[in-house]
């Protein structure tokens, strides 16, 4: 039975066409996936239904009647609720305050009657917060949600917030619930829980629309799939009739290889040695305890663990951002046989090192700079004639983050809020590239040519969808912003590259592109630390996996010889328990 129908919806933002002539229909009581890559216009389209955007042309029908949805309130009036990717909750409020927000007395009365299942006999209905909390609890019991009405949003986990958003919509009595990328920030267990909720809602006769780019989830949960690409509607298929490969091909528009390539090259020498590292977090609690490991060149070391097991603190400690720490972190700069440069050392340091006999000429004879003028030395260094005998061993323990960065230890942390860390939304692509490199240029005037070249290269190589290079970054879709962020870090030719959740929220094509880029970096000799969530990817991409559990190392395993189950066990194992 046709329930909602889009007819020739077109939505344009400035120069970007987000949706062009999209038409399809949604049946009552089904779970429908809207599948598409980032920037394919799926969120925009459903935002039209949710009342956030107004279409530029085209019509929306609900139950056969044309409707105009001006605001989220209009959407609710038509029984449509939306859970956005970035939750729309007031952080300073309690759960129940968020649930009843914006509801009038009359609306609450109707809701009470619906939950009671009978018209209220009372002439006056109390609409106090506590009364509403009782009704919300009653409804949650029906669906099997845990609900603490007085818990503040800022005390909630991501998953709790999402559940609250769903409760909020259900409390308002929606028939249709739109979930925008609901699994993007959830753990495996939380995703399982969410899917149970979705199934319960379906049993209850609700229509659920899931916006996603994850093929396995589409297969698992949905009845039908609408595929979108580049703002256009491609096709609708019954989930049981297609396999993941076909869906991926429809989504991307060409055949794509769903295998992750891992080049088998032997690791080169030691690159980073972490000994007895203990880190306290900002509240002074122990976040990491006695961490010991060695990272090699040409290696991808995966870090696995449930969220907040100390992944963030580990990366921050290495990059010099975590201040409250003990233990040694040693960086072995692969300098053997390489020329010394003025990039990290000034002439004084070079002279001192020469005194200690650290350098040799190309023919192997030792370097003595005694009696040479500064001009002569500068010339020799600039020509690359002075070479290191051995690797440089640098203690990172007390170095500033900027010094560590300059040594070639790059951290690309992709946070949930991509624009908050790393990129400036209101600046254009070129200027964002410049943010990392502006210190390098000479003189006070910024030189934009290099940044422009870099931006051009990243846009081309990573297939970033942008109208042009002078577009504001905030105008790009989330996935494209992320590609820029990762691309910029990789482009700086790091010696150690640390990436955290680099594919979070990215579509298949971009994810595989990122995996490929990381593997290429590994081939070039870079040591890579990859903090990831998806165990399948960790197993396929990395060489070794370090499993963190409660801030301690639960084990370091060889990715080629282990299984998902074993890592899962290590992740949940408490150090004390496994010893016992």
């Amino acid at each position: 039975m046709e329930y909602i129908r889009f007819e020739n919806i077109t939505k344009i933002f400035g120069e970007t066409i987000a949706n062009s002539n999209v038409s399809f229909s949604i049946n009552k009581g089904e779970v429908l996936s809207i599948l598409g890559e980032n920037g394919s216009g799926k969120t925009t389209l459903l935002n039209v239904l949710g009342g956030i955007y107004q279409q530029d042309s085209g019509k929306v029908y609900v139950n056969g009647e044309e409707v105009v949805i001006h605001s989220p309130k209009d959407a609710y009036d038509h029984g449509i609720g939306m859970v956005h990717q970035h939750y729309k909750l007031v952080e300073a409020f309690s759960a129940i305050e968020n649930v009843v927000l914006g509801l009038s007395k009359q609306a609450l009365k109707k809701i009470y009657e619906r939950i009671d299942g009978e018209p209220t006999k009372k002439r006056f209905v109390r609409c106090s917060i506590s009364q509403s909390a009782q009704y919300a609890k009653k409804m949650c019991d029906h669906y099997g949600f845990a609900f603490d009405p007085n818990k503040k949003i800022y005390d909630m986990s991501v998953s709790e917030k999402q559940t609250l958003e769903i409760i909020k919509a259900l409390f308002r009595g929606v028939d249709t619930l739109i979930l925008d990328e609901p699994t993007a920030v959830l753990t495996i267990q939380e995703i399982k829980h969410l899917f149970t909720v979705v199934k319960n809602m379906k049993k209850d006769g609700k229509t659920v629309i899931i916006i996603t780019h994850k093929l396995n989830e589409v297969k698992e949960i949905s009845d039908r799939v609408v595929v979108m690409r580049k703002g256009e509607y491609i096709d609708t298929v019954n989930t049981k009739d297609v396999d993941e490969e076909t869906l991926a091909e429809m989504m991307v528009g060409k055949k794509i290889d769903l295998d992750i390539h891992r080049s088998d090259i032997p690791p080169s020498g030691e690159r980073l040695i972490v000994e007895h590292l203990t880190v306290n977090d900002r509240e002074g609690n122990v976040a990491l305890k006695d961490i010991n490991f060695t990272l090699f060149g040409s290696e991808i070391l995966g870090i696995a663990g449930v969220s907040n097991s100390g992944q963030r603190e580990l990366l921050e400690a290495i990059s010099g951002l975590a201040k409250d720490r003990e233990g040694n972190i040693t960086f072995i700069n692969p300098k053997e046989g390489k020329p010394v440069t003025f990039f990290h050392k000034d002439i004084k340091q070079i002279k001192a090192l020469a005194e200690q006999g650290k350098f040799h000429y190309e023919d192997g004879s030792p370097v003595s700079l005694k009696g040479k003028t500064i001009k002569e030395i500068t010339k020799l260094v600039n020509e690359g004639k002075i070479l290191f005998y051995e690797n440089e061993i640098i203690d990172l323990t007390n170095k500033e983050p900027l010094e560590i960065r300059n040594l070639g230890i790059k951290l690309s942390f992709v946070p949930e809020d991509r624009l908050g860390m790393g990129l400036v939304g209101n600046m254009n692509l070129v200027d964002n590239m410049l943010l990392r490199s502006y210190r390098k240029g000479k003189g006070r005037i910024l030189k934009k040519e290099k940044s422009k070249e870099l931006a051009e290269r990243i846009v081309e190589e990573l297939d970033v969808k942008t109208p042009n290079l002078s577009a504001r970054v905030a105008e790009l879709s989330g996935g494209n912003i992320q590609k820029l962020l990762v691309g910029r870090e990789i482009s700086s030719r790091p010696k150690i590259l640390m990436v955290a959740y680099p594919v979070r929220g990215l579509d298949i094509n971009s994810s595989y592109l990122i995996y490929k880029l990381l593997d290429e970096q590994k081939q070039k000799g870079t040591a890579i630390i990859y903090v990831g969530e998806d165990l399948d990817v960790l197993l396929a991409l990395t060489d070794r996996i370090l499993v963190l559990s409660g801030g301690e190392i639960a084990g370091i395993v060889d990715s080629r010889k282990t299984t998902k189950e074993k890592i899962g066990m290590l992740m949940s194992a408490k150090k004390g328990e496994s010893d016992a």
């Binding site: 949710g50 955007y53 989220p72 309130k73 729309k88 007031v90 300073a92 927000l101 914006g102 007395k105």
Partner: protein
């Protein structure tokens, strides 16, 4: 003892100006509008108050006795009207025309100060001091209650109105559905919007109401505190800026603003009040004049370091347009 009584009584009078300004601004800021036009709106309110009073004075025969109700009522209505217009202008620019809130607010201040000063300067001041005296005491028999009466019952209707407005504002913000919705708009406008709240309407109305309340403060200062002697009235805007400080000082709570206004008033009048007793040490009065500003800075530092709970509304100063990406 007498000094203390008259000092406190005067402080309460000055606190009234602060309280209107602070309560108005709190209502503004709770909706997410960082209205830096408060000093200008105060001046506009002052202009309105004087126009109201002039209209009344011109409508009665020369030498006729002043009606104690009308002498308060007309200026009040006009100051509310002028203040509300100030708030409406601010909302029009920030909500409808999507202008930057800081720029709009500062412009409004410059505009309000200039406009009001220009017109106030051309005003006919005859009988104004008399009118100022007539509205000075809400309860003419205050002296019957001794020193307590001197301090608390000697005030004008404006003062009692100010306290009532602050208490009502506190109750509405904290305990009502409208208050919850308003706070949501200031905390997270997009969340409020998706919950079905009309963000623009809430911002418009709250800013207009806040402007109206702020305007009363300006009128009261002009009409009562300086008793219509406008040539010495420069400095209404100083009250406006300090009102902005009080908003932060009181951590966006109108009830605390009552006490904070009183404290700021004490600090403001202390230099002038104690000058005669300080003798030759004139510099002390300059130091005293500095204290309210210094106190604000210190409180700001303390609050931002140690008080993580009483933070400003999260979306303060952030304009909201639904289709923004």
């Amino acid at each position: 003892m007498n000094y203390v009584v008259s000092f406190l009584s005067l402080a309460i009078k000055f606190a009234t100006v602060f309280l209107f300004g602070a309560t108005g601004e709190i209502i503004n800021q709770k909706s997410g509008h960082l209205n830096m036009g408060t000093p200008g709106i105060m001046y506009l309110g002052a202009l309105g108050g004087i126009i109201g009073e002039r209209i009344y004075l011109d409508s009665i025969p020369a030498g006729a006795p002043l009606n104690p109700f009308m002498i308060v009522f007309l200026p009040l209505i006009f100051s509310i009207l002028f203040g509300a217009i100030g708030g409406a202008v601010f909302s029009f620019f920030t909500v409808t025309l999507h202008c930057n809130q800081n720029v709009t607010g500062l412009t409004l201040t410059t505009f309000g100060v200039g406009l009001a000063c220009f017109f106030i300067g051309t005003m006919d001041t005859s009988r104004m001091p008399e009118a100022g005296l007539a509205m000075q005491h809400a309860f003419p028999n205050y002296a019957a209650a001794g020193w307590f009466g001197e301090i608390f019952f000697s005030q004008s209707w404006f003062t009692y109105l100010g306290v009532v407005v602050a208490i009502v504002a506190a109750i509405i913000l904290k305990y009502t559905r409208v208050g919850l919705n308003l706070r949501a708009v200031g905390e997270n406008a997009s969340a409020a919007d998706s919950a079905g709240i009309n963000v623009n309407r809430y911002r418009y109305i709250s800013t207009i109401i806040g402007g109206a309340i702020t305007g009363i403060g300006g009128a009261f200062y002009e009409l009562d505190n300086v008793k219509g002697m406008f040539n010495v009235a420069d400095g209404v805007d100083a009250f406006g800026w300090l009102a902005l400080c009080i908003v932060i000082f009181s951590m966006w709570k109108p009830l605390i603003a009552i006490g904070a206004s009183f404290l700021f008033a004490c600090l403001s009048i202390a230099p002038t009040f104690f000058a005669p007793y300080l003798g030759g040490a004139g510099y002390v009065s300059y130091i005293l004049k500095l204290t309210p500003y210094l106190a604000t800075v210190i409180i700001l530092i303390i609050v931002s370091i140690y008080d993580k709970k009483n933070q400003p509304p999260a979306n303060l100063g952030v304009s909201y347009f639904r289709e923004d990406r």
